[in-house]
């Protein structure tokens, strides 16, 4: 157990069955999301959140309209050319902003290189929520604490693969040692390119990106923002030293301003 484990989500074979969402909820005993009909697509869970640790995005590609919704005008008359489906999950970043900013140590790095919230330590301060550049972690309002995907830490401890990967009928969600997955993913992209799908690209696989590489990365068939993913995320704490320097400058100016206010009055 010395290897960093990860997810490779190959969206080119996702069929949008939501078995991952259901398996995740069942295994982790995650509460329901409240049965909200969004009236935008077949996606009624909408986004990742405190009670949605796997989320299947449904993107309706309208014919002749390359842009996303809201710009498509009368979508009904144009027809759907195809669907993009993608099962989103916590990225388990190498440089995880949520983990960095957690003031209680409730978030920790496991022996598998994943990022997990300890529910019994979480203080509910909510700081991890806006810190995440992917908008993954959220606070469950009735509960007051923050929750997100654990990559089934308990199952991994027992030598099992996470519930979502286990339940995926098309192997769109693959679990394994991260290095191995990256090699496999690159081969898959090459094959798709050969098959005439030049739009296939990896997202979050590079260890040199703004979060130091994600522990859960994706093969996408369109730009990341089409799936609701940030195109070029950065771990927010990258600029923390700069921020403290500016704050120190402001603090010194404050003392200076007070000193000036008292000078020449004695």
């Amino acid at each position: 157990m010395t290897e960093r484990m990860g997810f490779f989500t190959d969206t080119s074979v996702c069929i949008g069955c939501k078995a991952c969402e259901v398996a995740c909820k069942e295994w982790n005993d995650v509460p329901d999301d409240g049965f909200v009909f969004r009236a935008t697509s077949y996606d009624n869970t909408g986004s990742l959140g405190a009670s949605t640790w796997r989320h299947v995005a449904f993107i309706e590609e309208l014919s002749r309209v390359p842009a996303g919704p809201g710009q498509s005008g009368d979508g009904g008359s144009e027809g759907i050319e195809g669907w993009l489906m993608s099962s989103d999950v916590c990225k388990h970043c190498t440089h995880a902003a949520c983990l960095d900013v957690c003031p209680t140590g409730a978030l920790f790095r496991t022996e598998f290189g994943t990022v997990v919230v300890q529910a019994d330590v979480c203080n509910g301060c909510g700081y991890c929520v806006p810190a995440c550049p992917y908008g993954v972690i959220d606070r469950r309002e009735r509960d007051g604490r923050a929750f997100k995907c654990t990559m089934c830490y308990d199952r991994q401890l027992g030598g099992l693969e996470p519930a979502c990967a286990k339940a995926c009928p098309t192997d769109s969600i693959q679990f394994g040692p991260l290095e191995e997955l990256r090699t496999r993913a690159e081969e898959r992209v090459e094959r798709l390119h050969e098959e005439g799908r030049p739009q296939a690209r990896l997202y979050g696989a590079s260890p040199g990106d703004g979060v130091g590489g994600a522990g859960a990365f994706f093969l996408l068939l369109a730009d990341p923002e089409v799936y609701g993913l940030p195109p070029d995320p950065v771990v927010t704490t990258r600029d923390l030293p700069t921020m403290w320097r500016w704050a120190a400058g402001a603090a010194l100016s404050l003392v200076g301003a007070v000193a000036v206010s008292f000078l020449g009055r004695g």
Binding site: T2, E3, R4, S47, I59, A67, G68, G70, T94, D100, V101, C102, P103, T104, F112, N123, G124, C125, G126, Y127, V129, P130, A131, C132, P133, G135, V136, D138, P207, G208, D209, G210, V211, G212, G213, E225, G228, P230, P231, D232, R238, L240, T242, M243, W244, W246, A247, A250, A251, S253, L254, V255, A257, V258, A259, V260, S261, F262, R265, G266
Partner: protein
């Protein structure tokens, strides 16, 4: 670079059904912005209190010291209200974590409220002189400074008369030391760390403003502390408080102007919608209050008007900043477009490869 930028026009970007990419901050109103205001008020007041002590402004030192202690205490109450339960604040002190501005802030608040409480206690204990021989002098004093309301041999107050003699003997010394430490260390940090707290998030309007926000908050803190000082101190001694208020209002206004000029797209939420209305109102109140403070010395009514305007402006700017952050998180444009531009310009965000492997 110009050509590549043109490929990503401002209005055009793709998103997932217009849904936000990042999660909006979950912090509540009025708890969080009020805490930000009180923290700033307390921090800047403690700086003003220490300066007043050092330069012999007795009454101003007392009101500023008490304001600093009350501000820190009330701030802690609002913070606990935000967290939900008092133990949760204590939980914050289980770890000391430099990568978390929230953790550092909890420690700053804890130490600062302790220091300001001791400083204020010594001020209050020394508040009403009665005829008893002097015990101890303050630990420090600027030579040649105006003695003001404090006579050379400082008598022990009526309050101090009820204290155990050991406490009464130590309190002035401890109060002086606490006031000095709060004035030069925890106070200035208290007034500015909240800017780092907001900036260290993925919220574009906050993260991109990490240079201006500390100055805006420091200015706002000075303005509020100056306002409290001039409202609660007799005119003869309120001069420095008025100067603090004027300087604070100027710094806050200037930082706000620079922020809007420099931020571009990420700065948009600061002047649109609800956040825009709050920021504009805050600017009018702060600038107006600051200008009034320059001439308020002669009139009690003008002083009151200026002090109230500055207080309202300082409070409102925190509500405005919080709302701007929320608006910038809610619209995927502010997350996607700058990142797209960065990629189009061939400057993707990058980090050195991880230093550690996964054992």
């Amino acid at each position: 670079m110009t050509r590549e930028r043109e490929m990503v026009p401002e209005a055009e970007f793709r998103s997932y059904y217009g849904q936000p990419v990042i999660k909006p901050p979950v912090w509540h109103e009025p708890h969080m912005p009020t805490y930000l205001y009180l923290g700033g008020l307390s921090g800047a007041s403690s700086v003003m209190g220490a300066a007043a002590r050092l330069s012999g402004y007795g009454r101003l030192a007392r009101t500023a010291g008490v304001t600093a202690a009350l501000g820190a205490t009330a701030g802690a109450v609002f913070l606990v209200a935000e967290l939900g339960r008092p133990e949760r604040f204590l939980n914050m002190l289980r770890v000391f974590k430099p990568t978390s501005p929230m953790s550092m802030g909890s420690w700053i608040l804890a130490v600062h409220s302790g220091l300001t409480a001791v400083a204020a206690a010594s001020e209050v204990a020394g508040a009403r002189p009665v005829s008893r021989p002097a015990v101890a002098r303050p630990a420090f004093r600027v030579t040649g400074a105006r003695p003001a309301s404090r006579p050379a041999a400082r008598p022990v107050s009526r309050v101090a008369g009820y204290l155990p003699s050991a406490v009464a003997a130590v309190l002035p010394l401890a109060g002086g030391a606490a006031s000095l430490i709060a004035g030069v260390a925890t106070g200035p940090l208290m007034a500015t760390y909240t800017a780092v707290l907001l900036a260290d998030t993925a919220v574009p309007a906050w993260h991109e403003a990490h240079r201006e926000l500390p100055f805006m908050f420091a200015g706002s803190a000075l303005a509020s502390a100056g306002a409290a000082g001039m409202l609660a101190t007799p005119r003869a001694e309120a001069g420095p408080a008025r100067a603090v208020a004027v300087l604070g209002a100027a710094v806050e206004t200037a930082a706000g102007a620079v922020l809007e000029r420099r931020l571009g797209l990420a700065g948009e939420p600061y002047h649109q919608g609800k956040a825009g209305r709050r920021m504009r109102a805050a600017r009018v109140l702060t600038a107006g209050g600051g200008l009034l403070a320059t001439v308020a010395g002669r009139s009690r009514a003008l002083t009151a008007l200026s002090g109230l305007a500055l207080t309202a402006g300082s409070l409102l700017v925190r509500f405005g900043v919080l709302e701007a952050g929320r608006a910038s998180a809610a619209d995927p444009k502010y997350t996607v477009v700058p990142q797209r531009r960065r990629l189009a310009a061939g400057e993707p965000a990058s980090l050195p490869p991880p230093a550690r492997t996964w054992p």
